[in-house]
Symmetry: C2
């Protein structure tokens, strides 16, 4: 067996050993994947430059992989695309090998990883807690070592919240940089394709194959990191504030200049996503399907999408006007800061807490992530330490196109110790 | 009296002579205007460079002029702004003198110039026919020689249709180039400030003071003008097709290369504006006011705005998605053409025809103008000849930022004879 084939064999052994079938929607037949690996090995042997040769890739279930059903977490919605989505095609062209499609909050509606007819995906590091969503299976596959790299999507935080809860890296460019062709829309104007990897270098390498961001020039000097007063973060889980402040201190210790920022425009923008009319885009995307009903519809997801049917268009228009104002205020707050540092989430609920209050817990989880796509920012969500032995994730938000810059800053955040995977 | 004061005196004499009070919403007291002229003369005498010194300016009634009521054609809506809108301020800084605010289709809703509690504005060149709107008074003031320059706004064609019917020039940059601060919104995401003048050089000079467009580079060679098959223009007034084809021939005779274009994506985009959900932006802007009712609401305008209240947001979201597709198709059709040549309107209705069918006639008028702002194009509407002794207007549409380029092409369209003003 050649190198990529050996990696495939090892992956299927690991997948069997892990005993986490809920991570996948469609795990491909090993023989098919081995055949794909053989082709990669042959291309590499023929001298093709394949920066991802043999990299094992998991793809969120709302992104087209040629020949596999795209279900978006709802089997009765499935269609079987003839072509890979451009993001999948780009990684495959670089030598990545697709293992299958991964579990997700249905129609990418939710941040918990529990809103799926296939069952909940728990955190690999805290099994009584949620793994986060909506890209739940993608983050878990990477965290459990079943895949090297995974594609997710991110509208409200779906490419970042599961990174935080699984202790992996999630990178998300500004909307529009990676094509969303071949992706089942959530809120079409805000959806982004995102990447998960265990390390920043792996995630950054994948991102460079997917997007060509153009960073605005920066004023010379040390990194300038905007840090809101902890009181503006609102109610947090125990230990969260201390972990956040420790992350900020690590950046300062690494030479970054910390500066205060008023988080209000970011918080008000975040509230527009769930509290405003943008959710009507979800009805535009899959409302007609949801209205017809189906035995495998998640009741929470179906409820959210159906409720979006009657939102009036003038409210959406007014929200867009308000967003334009908030964008100006947020940009003014950022000024020439390179990034805004935030916890990725306000806390980490248990599976039981989410089951008891499916909507409230998910809404709370988006408090810091919800604003990024509305404001056209890029984001890097990275492990940022731990709280009571559980993973604590931090996030850097930067202007569109500064993906490499914020990833470089995120590298300074490497926590003092890495948590072991306890899958 | 110095030069600007003399011009003001002459203007007030012309205004009295014209006997067209319906052109104005607020005509300023001559003493106030004379005082403003005196200041302009003093600034010029002090050596200030004032490219518009003494230029008499009329401002559409939905654009803020400090101290005058902004009514948007509805007196009970009025507010009295403390500051000029940026577009007014820029022209005043260059030496223009504001005569007053001009009549308009109420809330800039309509293309006829008849939807106003102040009465209809007729064409200066064909008194039984409409003057066009919604910037009806601005175009008329210029056509009648009462002002040198006028500001209008353009959402569906309000800066171009009245130019066509009054035999003047109307220039409209792509949305976003001239700030719309201090303008009562119609469809806020599409509204543009526009300029009217009797000649292209005057209009171009004003535009350069208002916007700094960046034109994309062009492939060298003769002007490339896209011209759809006349059959795709749909039903036209008698003589309209021949006048349009003659305009195209004039461009060819001047050295331009004509090339065919499929108008379908432009026509389908145009239909989105009135037939789709974008009209909900009008409700977002003034719906609450209209719902409260008022004796001076135009019944047609109020009906359109009230009907927009119940359009669902998911339709607006779907229309935006569809627009994104149409933008791609329209750009592909344009290719590297410098401009698309179209009649400004499909015909020129009489005042009686509009009174008999206020909505149908106005909708028809926007067939060629409606797509420009949705597609992010700039436009130049210029006199393009005559049909049965009445003005025929043609329009050039170009990519955002090519205002100077399409104005240069429009200059080649100078009709063989200029119609005399018969105000």
């Amino acid at each position: 067996m050649t190198r990529a084939q050996q990696r495939v064999r090892a992956a299927y052994e690991a997948i069997a050993r892990a005993g986490r079938p809920e991570v996948w929607i469609t795990l491909r037949d090993e023989h098919d994947v081995t055949a794909e690996a053989r082709q990669v090995d042959a291309r590499a042997a023929a001298g093709h430059a394949l920066p991802l040769a043999g990299t094992l890739l998991a793809v969120k279930g709302n992104i087209d992989v040629a020949g596999l059903p795209t279900t978006a977490g709802c089997p009765s919605y499935a269609y079987r695309p003839a072509r890979d989505a451009p993001a999948v095609a780009a990684l495959r062209a670089a030598g990545a090998i697709v293992l299958g499609t991964t579990a997700m909050d249905q129609f990418a509606t939710g941040l918990t990883g529990t809103r799926s007819p296939h069952g909940a995906v728990a955190s690999a590091l805290a099994p009584d807690r949620i793994g986060g969503g909506s890209s739940s299976g993608s983050a878990a596959a990477v965290a459990l070592g079943l895949a090297d790299l995974a594609l997710g999507t991110d509208t409200a935080g779906s490419g970042r919240v599961p990174a935080a809860f699984q202790g992996v890296v999630g990178l998300k460019p500004a909307p529009g940089l990676i094509p969303t062709e071949g992706v089942v829309p959530a809120c079409a104007s805000l959806d982004c394709v995102s990447v998960f990897a265990r390390t920043l270098p792996e995630a950054r390498r994948a991102l460079t194959l997917l997007a060509s961001p153009t960073a605005p020039p920066r004023r010379p000097g040390p990194w300038r990191i905007a840090v809101p007063p902890t009181a503006q973060l609102g109610e947090l889980d125990d230990g969260w504030a201390a972990a956040y402040e420790a992350a900020a201190r690590r950046l300062a210790a690494a030479g970054a200049e910390l500066r205060p920022l008023d988080l209000t425009p970011f918080t008000e923008t975040a509230e527009l996503l769930y509290g405003g009319a943008f959710v009507a885009e979800r009805y535009a995307a899959v409302g007609a399907f949801v209205d017809r009903g189906g035995p495998d519809l998640d009741p929470t997801v179906a409820g959210i999408i159906r409720a979006a049917r009657d939102i009036p268009a003038h409210r959406l228009a007014a929200d867009r006007e308000r967003l334009a104002v908030l964008r100006g205020r947020a940009a003014a707050e950022l000024g020439d800061a390179d990034a805004l540092l935030l916890p990725t989430t306000p806390g980490h609920p248990t599976l039981a807490e989410v089951a008891a209050d499916p909507v409230g817990t998910s809404t709370r989880l988006g408090r810091f992530t919800n604003s990024a796509n509305l404001l056209g920012l890029c984001a890097a969500a990275v492990p940022g330490g731990s709280v009571a032995g559980r993973p604590f994730g931090v996030m850097l938000l930067g202007p569109a196109g500064t993906d490499e810059r914020i990833a470089g800053i995120a590298a300074l955040l490497e926590p003092p110790l890495r948590l072991a995977v306890v899958g």
